[in-house]
Symmetry: C2
Subunit: 253 residues, 2 copies
């Protein structure tokens, strides 16, 4: 059975501790965090620890902290025999100073208030040593059906893609919410559309799923919308996205 220690107390650390704890193939033996108060919720999953010198021995150390803290935290377990991995989409594997380093990156957006089923979350793994890769394969397979070998260069691009489909998409939702607010309309009017837009591409290419004035080349509707937006950042965004959609379909059709 693999023994695991989670280092960190953020959203991802929380979800990982929960899933490792509930997985019969794994032994979550400790959760480490600098701040004792932040560690309290973790006591249900494993013994907690806030003193670097008391970190136990384990097969895998999972560093789930902010990108700029990864190196520092990895130094706390530099002398351990177990594997040391980070969970970041953006950071290279070499940001961990350990001979048996790796990356264990679950590609999902995590917030404490949302329960998630890890089973369908893609886990992207990378390891410096072959034996490390095998350990991560095992660890990944014990929580998810979708484990992928992804190197640092690919992962950077994947993380960039994730920013587009997650962070920027949420910003577009917020533009919709703002428009509703200004018109004193409930955002609930748009929520089913938001969900269907995401569900549609689960089994379809985005190319096929695209609709709307710009896709149809309906420049009259585009003009009307630009007028409604007046001079604003949203108007610039509307123009840019409509042009991009137009170009995409001119190119490929």
């Amino acid at each position: 059975m693999l023994s695991v220690i989670v280092l960190g107390t953020g959203n991802l650390a929380h979800h990982l501790s929960q899933v490792f704890y509930s997985c019969p193939d794994l032994d979550l033996i400790q959760v480490y965090g600098r701040n004792k108060d932040n560690l309290k919720p973790y006591q249900v999953y494993a013994p907690t620890c806030s003193e670097p010198l008391k970190i136990k021995d384990a097969d895998v150390y999972i560093i789930a902290v902010k990108d700029n803290a990864i190196r520092t935290v990895s130094q706390l377990v530099a002398d351990k025999k177990g594997m040391v991995v980070h969970t970041s989409g953006a950071m290279e594997m070499k940001s961990i100073a350990h001979e048996n380093s790796g990356v264990f990156y679950p590609l999902q957006t995590f917030s404490k208030e949302r329960a998630l089923n890890f089973n369908t979350i893609p886990v992207c793994i990378e390891a410096k040593q072959q034996k490390g890769l095998e350990v991560l394969e095992k660890l990944g397979a014990s929580i998810s059906k979708r484990v992928h070998h992804i190197d640092s260069e690919q992962r950077k691009k994947l993380h960039l893609a994730a920013v587009f489909v997650n962070n920027f998409t949420n910003y577009l939702y917020s533009v919709g919410e703002d428009i509703c607010e200004k018109e004193k309309l409930p955002f609930d009017l748009l929520r089913p559309l938001i969900l269907e837009t995401a569900e549609k591409v689960q089994g379809m290419s985005t190319f096929r799923a695209q609709t709307g004035p710009a896709r149809r080349g309906d420049s009259k509707s585009v003009e009307k919308h630009l007028e409604l937006l007046e001079q604003s950042q949203e108007q610039i965004l509307y123009k840019l996205l409509s042009e991009a959609i137009k170009t995409r379909y001119e190119e490929k059709l």
Copy 2:
């Protein structure tokens, strides 16, 4: 029982015919379309008709055609006693030349290959006459739990908001798909993230749901991503969206 005739053979006409047909409170008595071939799939729902003079009498005529054809099609039923409504988010009610006109706008994205549950789809109604509004309330309530009175000005804004959360969001998905393709990675890696992003805002404000480098003010990650994108339309888009997110959180926090 309300008798209904659908005019049009596009995606929305298809979904509406299907739901009207299956609704016990409604009588779909005819589907009209110019092109006989396009009408064939509708024969399972109701008698079809391609000759304007043979359009029957009904309580409500639902025009589900392209925006620029609404006026022309409405003229085919100008002499009818029943109510005449269009289904467009972008067109004003007055684009229908009839004394008992109205709008019946289901706020959703429709494609033939996807089955939809109308029950949760917001239906936005507007009518020239009070008695017409009552008819549309009844019609709306027979297929959906969410019927809203929305006037032409509000509906235009709502349609604009829908373009942001639906059409533009799908475009962002396509940027993600492109990045995957270039890296020879399956788009499936991003699909769970896309779905979770949409599900998250079903019970949360977009303001709260926002994450990512721009939200955190992590300008180092933003710079790295801009480098990865090199000189491209995606780079301009990344810059603009990151700036917009930054501004949003500077303003409101």
